[in-house]
Symmetry: C2
Subunit: 478 residues, 2 copies
């Protein structure tokens, strides 16, 4: 989610850009023409859809540290090689190992019945036999923050914020704030547990949405779970009877140690400057409830397919296109942070980058955080993407996407290629994140966008302004 501060920073950049639009970074005409052909070819190419089909079918769910963490990495290495990438390698990433073993929940009184719920990442488990406690309901995170601890102590806190569908998915700002921040606030006030209405927009599906929660001090972790929307409706109806409501949580989950996985990287080596890099990617891990098709098999497939199509071009671009399948984005951007830390010293060699991690809906908006002198080249990229329905918004920064926001934070110039997320939060982080949610044509549009932009950025004359700390104020991206 954007902060007003970052918009302001972008506006200042843009003001500068207005002055220096003579521009020394340019994309050669022949490159633009080649990128147009690449774009059009990608629109009718099914490489991306085949990749995401292979990943979700042959590997399936890929929770970080689970049995499929290694299988997913083996798949990615084999797939990069099968696609003809020039270099394929891994970089180790270490993260806490949180495991979900089983989860049940129920209203105990006044009207006993099961609840469809799922534990949040880093939730504590409940004692043997479960945790039964009275529910105290809050309508917002602010209301919980303002609550007197005595009203919360020993109880299960419930927050009932309802997300609605939007193209840019902005309700997830509040939905994820409640999920990530609510449990620790409740714990700090002495709550026994925490439940929320799922941060999801599928009103009618009893598939609760998991997602990470943050306990800065892991010893303060309490059981924390999300109810499906119909179950949240039901709990609220029961609460409305005005009688004390008690709920049982029976969560067998928790942190059991640490795990070392890896970012898996494939490169299409640049013709003239192989050590200079355009970064694209997605994250290889998913939540365990679905098969991680839209989150983020799609992103991995978009980036891998874009690289493959660039590989197949008559002439390689000047610079290297690096495709990164990140480890463990879901539980805290571990892959992105590891990548940024490892490559912080080479930030000036990272030409431009962005990650796809918002499903498979069509890209409809582009924005960029680049040096003013590179705005003309960005406009050239925008010109090639415009026929795909992508509008260039010069007033917004480019965040680089989830994991690559970290490298952007180190100073890498970055784009945002914003996808239509209208239905993304119907399926995000729940059991329904499966292959059938991906429209092959929409996925191909994404591949076309990534292939064309990466090709042009890798073949530009001049750079986009990457330098240590250059874009620090742009924050953490989408």
């Amino acid at each position: 989610m954007r902060l007003p501060l970052t918009v302001l920073a972008a506006s200042l950049l843009l003001a500068n850009a207005g002055i220096s639009y003579a521009a020394d970074t340019r994309i050669p005409d022949a490159t633009v023409k080649a990128a147009e052909q690449l774009r059009d070819k990608a629109l009718t190419d099914d490489t991306g859809y085949k990749i995401v089909t292979s990943l979700t079918t042959e590997v399936g769910p890929r929770i970080a540290g689970g049995v499929n963490d290694a299988r997913g990495r083996a798949w990615a290495i084999a797939k990069f090689k099968e696609l003809g990438y020039d270099k394929v390698y891994t970089e180790a990433v270490t993260y806490p190992l949180w495991q979900r073993r089983s989860e049940h929940g129920a209203i105990v009184a006044p009207f006993a019945q099961p609840l469809a719920l799922t534990a949040l990442g880093f939730s504590a488990g409940t004692p043997q036999g479960g945790l039964t406690a009275e529910v105290v309901k809050f309508d917002s995170l602010d209301a919980l923050k303002a609550a007197d601890p005595s009203s919360v102590k020993g109880k299960i806190v419930y927050i009932g914020f309802r997300m609605t569908r939007q193209k840019d998915g902005h309700d997830y700002g509040m939905g994820s704030a409640i999920r990530t921040g609510g449990p620790a606030i409740a714990s700090g006030k002495g709550a026994a547990g925490f439940i929320l209405r799922s941060a999801g927009t599928d009103e009618h599906s009893r598939t609760p949405h998991t997602g990470v929660t943050i306990f800065k001090d892991p010893t303060q972790a309490i059981p924390a779970a999300a109810l499906s929307n119909p179950d949240a409706d039901q709990l609220e109806r029961v609460i409305a009877y005005g009688k004390p409501v008690s709920v049982r949580l029976d969560l067998d989950c928790g942190i059991t140690g640490t795990f070392t996985g890896a970012n898996v990287i494939g490169e299409i080596t640049g013709r003239k400057h192989p050590d200079q890099i355009v970064d694209i990617g997605g994250h290889l891990d998913s939540w365990d409830l679905g098969t991680g098709a839209i989150d983020d098999g799609a992103g991995v497939a978009i980036a891998m397919a874009a690289g493959k199509l660039i590989h197949d071009m008559p002439q390689r671009p000047d610079r290297t296109v690096r495709v990164i399948a990140f480890a463990n984005e879901e539980m805290g951007l571990f892959g992105g942070i590891a990548y940024a830390n490892k490559h912080a010293g080479e930030v000036a060699k990272h030409q431009l980058g962005t990650e796809s991690d918002f499903g498979s809906g069509p890209v409809w908006r582009m924005s960029a955080s680049v040096k003013p002198e590179a705005r003309a080249a960005i406009a050239q990229i925008a010109g090639v993407l415009a026929p795909l329905g992508v509008a260039y918004d010069e007033t917004r920064p480019g965040g680089g996407g989830s994991d690559l926001s970290q490298m952007h934070g180190k100073g890498m110039a970055a784009l945002s290629l914003t996808q239509d997320g209208t239905i993304y939060f119907d399926y995000h982080h729940n059991a329904n994140d499966t292959l059938d949610k991906i429209d092959p044509k929409e996925l191909a549009q994404n591949v076309a966008v990534y292939a064309a932009f990466a090709y042009m950025a890798a073949d530009a004359k001049g750079d986009f302004g990457s330098a240590p700390d250059a874009f620090k104020k742009d924050g953490a991206g989408e």
Copy 2:
């Protein structure tokens, strides 16, 4: 599902009706006028929606023989009394007690991953540690029937029939035939287990559809389960790789004895002929996965609310309106069969009847199985229902609905009041059958239909032809 034979029988009835349309069964003009007022009042009345809200919230899931079987009955007795019914009583119904305790499934090879599945009613349990076997796929029930036992023996049979949405839900004819009949056929050929693509139309939801299966000899029961549609897609994709596919079923379920529940009955006593009866109803049991809102909390609510609105009329109709909340429809029409057996000797006193058991979509078609001399009265009823969007189809029989098909089989004259079932099979028999699927206005349309028809039938001059075995050929209704 209708059989051609029954349509033929109806046509013959109609041919007769054409001859004798002078008609001795008539509805007085004052009754028609009163029914029109009742209809219009019902359209803006929320009694039905309040009833189904109360049932699904305060009781929740109501699998026959489960802990909520008794709670559901207690609720129904209390609700009838609260609504002011004149007589409230129960009639015992005994049925096998099948219990679902836990269920898991997975593809074991070649691509290990969990499957979202649910055991079918009367499925056997699997041994401790589950049942793992190779899958053999059939595209249809006929293909399974034709299979050589050697191709099936020791394997898990999978049938992949895909239902699509229809207003009359006719694909359920094949879907339910596979679910009810497939496991026993597979068992007869020596299969170790049976799985099917859910008999449901929700393509994108990982909420498998349960439902009864039939083993005439319970000792031949094998583990039998339904995959959600996305899981069936996934299994078929995995099978398409051409390698042997093995699946593990881990179902803890089975028959543990018998259980005695009851049909719960409320009556609005007739003014002149209290021993003559118009029967309406729904079934009180539901599957355990959802809260039984559309199947069949809606039917119970429609009938209860219709009776309540008739109770509130300035003048009672001549005959009694009997509302029946049937026990255990889901596992074999036990409530309907018990009712028909108990009341078979009084069939001539049952004026006309029909049950609501197809969700809460609006009624769009009426058909009837009545004596030819009563067609004019049926046409009068149709005239009052027409403004509600209900078309009278004289070419079709009336089946009486699920449980009341049994009383119709004994000779009770019966209507069919066909609801729009376009989305019914998205939610039917799965976890998503919850209150949010009911549109209060559509429910009120149903109440208006039932209230107006029952009032007119109960106040008609003459009868509709109920007599022992009068309509035997009409079969088992919808």
